[in-house]
């Protein structure tokens, strides 16, 4: 997936707020998401489209309703791109330490 689209989508506080609302309660309609927000319905629709094209929100139809779900998979991919490497390095360091402590020549 396009990391640029993910970072751009996350760079806007209104879009992060929408993700927070879906994180608190997943599977909301547009009207439910608009409740209590300062944003216009059109603005929310636009932000949701950006989030959907970055694959941070997935929309599903249920009957006549369109429900929005937070999709954390791209964020996890970004986290593991860097954190995963640290984990590998930590494991490599541990195995090197183990080898050094146990000694190859004993």
């Amino acid at each position: 997936m396009d990391d640029d689209a993910v970072f751009k989508a996350l760079a806007d506080p209104s879009r992060r707020e929408l993700l927070d609302r879906l994180h608190a309660r997943n599977g909301q309609t547009l009207s439910e998401l608009c409740q209590g927000l300062e944003m216009s319905r059109q603005a929310v629709t636009k932000h949701l489209a950006v989030l959907e094209s970055a694959n941070l929100v997935a929309a599903r139809r249920r009957g006549r309703e369109k429900l929005h779900f937070i999709n954390p998979v791209p964020i996890n991919g970004i986290a593991e791109r860097w954190i995963g490497k640290f984990e590998e390095r930590r494991l490599a360091a541990l195995s090197a330490l183990k080898q050094a402590l146990e000694g190859e020549d004993r």
Binding site: N26, N55, S95
Partner: protein, 156 residues
């Protein structure tokens, strides 16, 4: 309202592979062990067949049956937790994999739902899926996994 009593998540990932390879990765136990932190599933992946998720020590984690199977496009699993009484008490959930070709990639959508509000099962599995899907994507695209089984430090 029906939407209030259903707890659900929808996870989507795009993987540069073919539907056939992705189907194999999702259904083959040896493939599963590589990205599912050592766990695997047992089933012949035909509608009506039993299905179960097995821990590395051989204990059953979850069990159920295949509701629908349409290789290499779609599978629906009736899924119940078997090792935590409070989750088992929630009864059966439904997990659906949908595989859709998108240019040179494939869109995998995982939907997991249960007819219960604030489901503990949904909360538990929703935390694991992003890592499993990231692992699966990396495995299919590069032949490696970022996070294999939990650190084999003690066993090393």
């Amino acid at each position: 309202m029906t939407t209030k009593s259903l707890d659900q998540f929808v996870y989507v990932t795009f993987i540069r592979t073919t539907p056939e390879r992705l189907w194999q990765a999702l259904t083959d136990p040896e493939f599963q062990k590589q990205y599912w932190f050592g766990m695997h599933q047992e089933s012949d992946w035909r509608a009506g067949s039993p299905w179960k998720m097995v821990f590395t020590d051989g204990k059953t984690a979850d069990a159920g049956e295949i509701l629908e199977a349409e290789p290499p496009r779609r599978v629906a699993i009736r899924w119940r937790n078997e090792f935590r009484p409070e989750m088992k008490a929630e009864g059966f959930s439904t997990c659906v994999y949908e595989i859709e070709p998108m240019g040179d990639a494939v869109q995998l959508t995982v939907t997991h739902s249960i007819e219960a509000p604030q489901s503990q099962l949904i909360r538990a599995v929703s935390g694991g899926w992003p890592r499993i899907l990231s692992n699966l994507k990396t495995l299919l695209e590069t032949g490696k996994v970022l996070m294999p089984e939990r650190p084999p430090v003690a066993a090393a």
